[in-house]
């Protein structure tokens, strides 16, 4: 070890010294801590649960009073010449108590006698009845009259209401109602008729438009076709003329071969075109004729429809007839036009073919004849062209005229049908409005009369109600007055009886006073004690008597009672007859004088909510005013586990006991406080019976020198 320390350096030695100092400080602190901890331990007083008696009782201090006392009264106004007794003195029966002055006694006798006589006279007067039933009879008469008025009012009201109802019913006459119904039916009929007329006119308008549209369309198509023909004819004519001119020129110039070939080709084309025109003209002719026939058929159908229309329409019928005539006239015209077209087209075909054959026969060298022929052909071509053009132009003009006519007819027919439609609509509207006005007029007339009658009835009902209410109010007032009159009559009668009874009592009392004064006068003014007893109160010599007792004697040979004051909540558990233990003072450690009394009376709660309990005491050596301890027991029971009340604690969880148990702690075996929750069964002032996890060996803390809580280490005192 020495070698070890030789090997250590200064730092190490210092560190070692620090360790030793630290341990020394800790040792000192250990001693201090253990010393202070022991000093701060709470000292407790322990108890164990044991079998005990728990008395449910009320305990209080009581005062003893003598039960019987007799007060002697004498008439007031007597002067006491001599009082023979004093407070606390025991007197015997017949012993002189007081002597009164004779003059005062005589004066009192006279005075009381006069008062008695006066009272008797008043009684006689009171007993004399002054019957007056006038207010009651008046009230009865008024009530009868009010009831009669009420009945009459009801009857009158019923009659008025019946009359008003009759008037209302009379206003609701069948004629007015029928007029109104008729006007209503007329309105519906006119409205329906108007709608039907409007529908018919509209249908006619549609048909007219449809029917007249077909001829117009046909005329338009013819016109267009004629225009095409015109253009075609003009073009063809120009071409033919140009061809002929070219041939002529060629013949003149000697270039027939070329011209001939060209002319041949042109002639072929012209011939072909002429043939096509011819076919086209045939088709157009056929179409025009078909259209004219269709227009005729349509016109005939429209004429038939107008003829059989219901209601008949002359204007439509005339229009349909005119249309039929127009359609009939249009057919020949169409036929003539078709013929002319066909002929013109056929002529053109012949000319074109002739030109073609001529062109085909054409010589290489044109001669004079050929020139002349060419010239002739040229002139013929020009003439034909003019003719064709003229024909086409004429046809065009014809179709133009037909179109114009068709348009005019269409517009006229449509305008006519439109006018008929407008007329029908306006007429229907006017008729409907007129019928409606008539309906409103009849309804208004009916309504105003009914309203008048209804108003009358309502006014009658309101007036009847008011009159009935007023009559009922009068009846009610009369009955109330009758009731009050009856009450007043009864009160008057009862009051008289009460006064008489009161007066009789006063007379009896006065009579007793007079008799007492007579007795005193007979005894020379000396009052003797009627009973034996102790004087608890006595007036003094020279005083005058009053309503208060002259002397009070307590009967000490009777019973005593103890009186105590307890809170009302405790008194509610008491009843008369409950036993009570009364303990007087004195006695010894082993014997406490206790007697059993009976609760004889319970007063009403006074202002401080306390009740005075009176306990009758048995015979004994009692003194007036003696203080005793009274205990009124409700129940008395023995419990196996009872603890001192000081050991019982409570918190928001419930009741609990603080029990000491030895625990093995760091400091060794120590007494540690722990909590045991218990249920309180019964308790009195000293002990409490509990139920919980405790037994006869549990060490329960009943007291300590400082506050103790769960987990604290304690020291047992």
């Amino acid at each position: 070890m020495r070698r070890f320390f030789k090997q250590t350096d200064l730092a190490q030695r210092r560190a070692g010294g620090n360790i030793l100092r630290f341990l020394a400080i800790l040792l000192a602190l250990t001693l201090i801590a253990q010393g202070t901890a022991g000093a701060t331990l709470a000292r407790v007083v322990l108890a164990t649960p044991e079998r005990g008696e728990i008395i449910d009782a009320i305990r209080a201090q009581a005062t003893v009073h003598a039960s019987d006392h007799i007060s002697k009264y004498v008439p007031p106004g007597l002067r006491i010449a001599q009082m023979h007794v004093h407070m606390g003195q025991r007197v015997g029966t017949g012993q002189a108590v007081a002597t009164f002055a004779r003059d005062a006694l005589e004066a009192a006798y006279i005075r009381e006698s006069a008062a008695l006589q006066r009272m008797e006279r008043d009684l006689e007067t009171l007993l004399r009845d002054a019957s007056g039933e006038t207010p009651l009879e008046t009230a009865q008469r008024n009530a009868q009259r009010a009831r009669a008025d009420y009945t009459a009012t009801l009857q009158q009201n019923e009659a008025d209401i019946a009359a008003a109802r009759e008037a209302l019913n009379a206003l609701a006459q069948p004629e007015a109602l029928r007029n109104h119904e008729r006007a209503l039916a007329d309105y519906y009929s006119v409205a329906a008729q108007g709608q039907a007329d409007i529908h018919t006119a509209f249908t006619n308008l549609q048909n007219t438009t449809g029917e007249n549209d077909i001829p117009l369309q046909n005329a338009l198509r013819n016109h267009e076709r004629a225009l095409e023909d015109y253009e075609s004819a003009r073009a063809q004519s120009e071409e033919e003329t140009a061809t002929a001119q070219a041939h002529y020129n060629a013949v003149r110039r000697g270039t027939a071969s070329t011209v001939d070939r060209t002319a041949t080709e042109n002639a072929q084309r012209n011939a072909q075109r002429a043939r096509e025109d011819y076919q086209s003209a045939l088709r157009q002719n056929e179409e025009a004729l078909t259209a004219a026939e269709a227009a005729l058929l349509t016109a005939i159908q429209a004429h038939h429809a107008a003829l059989f229309a219901s209601p008949p329409n002359p204007a439509a019928l005339a229009a349909a007839l005119a249309e039929v005539e127009r359609a009939q006239n249009a057919i020949p015209a169409a036929q003539a036009t078709a013929q002319a077209n066909r002929l013109a087209a056929a002529r053109r075909v012949e000319d074109a073919e002739a030109a073609l054959s001529q062109a085909q026969r054409g010589a290489t060298t044109a001669t004079q004849n050929e020139r002349e022929q060419a010239a002739t052909a040229l002139e013929n071509a020009r003439a034909r062209a003019e003719s064709n053009i003229l024909t086409a132009q004429r046809r065009l003009e014809d179709t133009q005229t037909a179109l114009t006519q068709a348009q005019g007819h269409f517009e006229a027919a449509v305008a006519q049908a439109q006018a008929a439609y407008e007329t029908a609509r306006n007429r229907a509207t006017e008729n409907s409005q007129a019928a409606r006005r008539r309906t409103e007029d009849t309804a208004s007339a009916l309504h105003s009369d009914a309203q008048r009658a209804q108003t009358t009835l309502q006014n009658t009902l309101a007036a009847a109600g008011n009159s009935r209410q007023q009559a009922a109010r009068r009846v009610e007032d009369a009955e109330i007055a009758l009731h009050n009159a009856l009450q007043q009559a009864e009160d008057t009668s009862a009051h008289s009886h009460i006064n008489a009874a009161t007066l009789r009592l006063d007379i009896a009392e006065k009579q007793a006073q007079v008799e007492a004064l007579e007795a005193l006068l007979a005894a020379e003014g000396v009052l003797y004690a009627p009973y034996a007893g102790a004087v608890s109160f006595a007036q003094q010599t020279g005083e005058s008597t009053s309503a208060a007792p002259l002397v009070t004697l307590r009967d000490t040979y009777g019973g005593f009672h103890a009186q105590l004051s307890i809170p009302r909540t405790q008194a509610e558990r008491l009843s008369v007859g409950t036993q009570s233990e009364v303990t007087t003072g004195g006695g010894s450690l082993f014997f406490v004088p206790t007697v059993t009394g009976i609760v004889s009376a319970l007063s009403n709660p006074c202002e401080n909510d306390r009740v005075t309990v009176t306990i009758s005491l048995p015979q004994g050596n009692w003194n007036e005013g003696q203080r005793v301890d009274a205990q009124i027991i409700f129940s008395r029971a023995n419990f196996d586990l009872s603890v001192p009340v000081s050991a019982l604690h409570s918190d928001n969880i419930g009741y609990f006991l603080l029990v000491v148990a030895q625990r093995n702690t760091v400091m060794g075996v120590q007494n540690v406080v722990h909590r045991v929750n218990v249920t309180l069964i019964a308790a009195d002032r000293y002990r409490a019976s509990v139920m919980g996890a405790i037994d006869r060996n549990s060490q329960i803390i009943t007291g300590s020198n400082k506050a103790v809580s769960v987990g604290d280490r304690i020291r047992v005192n």
């Binding site: 730092a11 560190a15 070692g16 602190l29 201090i32 702690t665």
Partner: protein
Amino acid sequence: MRRISILAHIPLVGLAMLVWWVLWFMLMGTLMSVEELNATIGAALHDDGGRSFWPVLPAWPTLQPLARLLLDTPHFFVMFWNTFRLVVPSVAGQIVLSAPAAWALSRFRFRGRKLLITVYIALMLMPFQVTMVPNFLVIDRLGLMDNVLAVILPFAFSAFPVFIMLKGFDAVPHALLEAASIDGAGPVRTFLHVGLPLGLPSILAAMVLGFLDVWGAIEQPMTFLGDPSAWPLSLFLPQIVAEELGLAMAASLLMLLPAVLFFLFGQKYLELGIQAAGIKE
């Protein structure tokens, strides 16, 4: 040795603060009242929700927790001395039992030596939770339950001091041993007069480490000591509830002091021992 510049101190100081912050935390907690502790870290302790924070300095410093611990907590001191009652025999047993074992393993060559060293190392590596059940069964069979020997004996026969001392004894020069042998010293005398003095650094290092190990041991006392009167200081803190946090802080500080003092005492030898363990001949 090259001096470190001032700037290099800054990160070093920062790293040091990270380590010392816990100590400062505990020291300031010792000077805080219960009310201030509840206001600062009460939310974390009571799990009522809210935020916790730790001030650098206490707002209302007080010595009340320290005074209460030192003057009104006698069981703290009982447990403190109980700890010494465990530490001193354990450390002494380690020295008495481990030194010869380490000398034998270091100096003698015998069959199974390396296997034995391996076993020692394996035992040293095993945590208490692994050996707890076998220890419990052995101690219960020996009838040592609820006895301080149940904690002292396992520590005394610990393998870790053997390992530390083994490395220290390995550093003893053979020449000295041969010289002692020539001078007529036997194995025991060689151990006592040559081995122990020269191996003192490792022995003290083992002693310091053993002290720290036993001082902070909690599993062994909790498992083997049922009697609260024998409990060491490591079992004092678990008894403290959240309402006595100031007391816990003060107790932690006082519990730390002996370990620090003892470490300061043996620091030099601890460093030498570690150094010696790292040097191979």
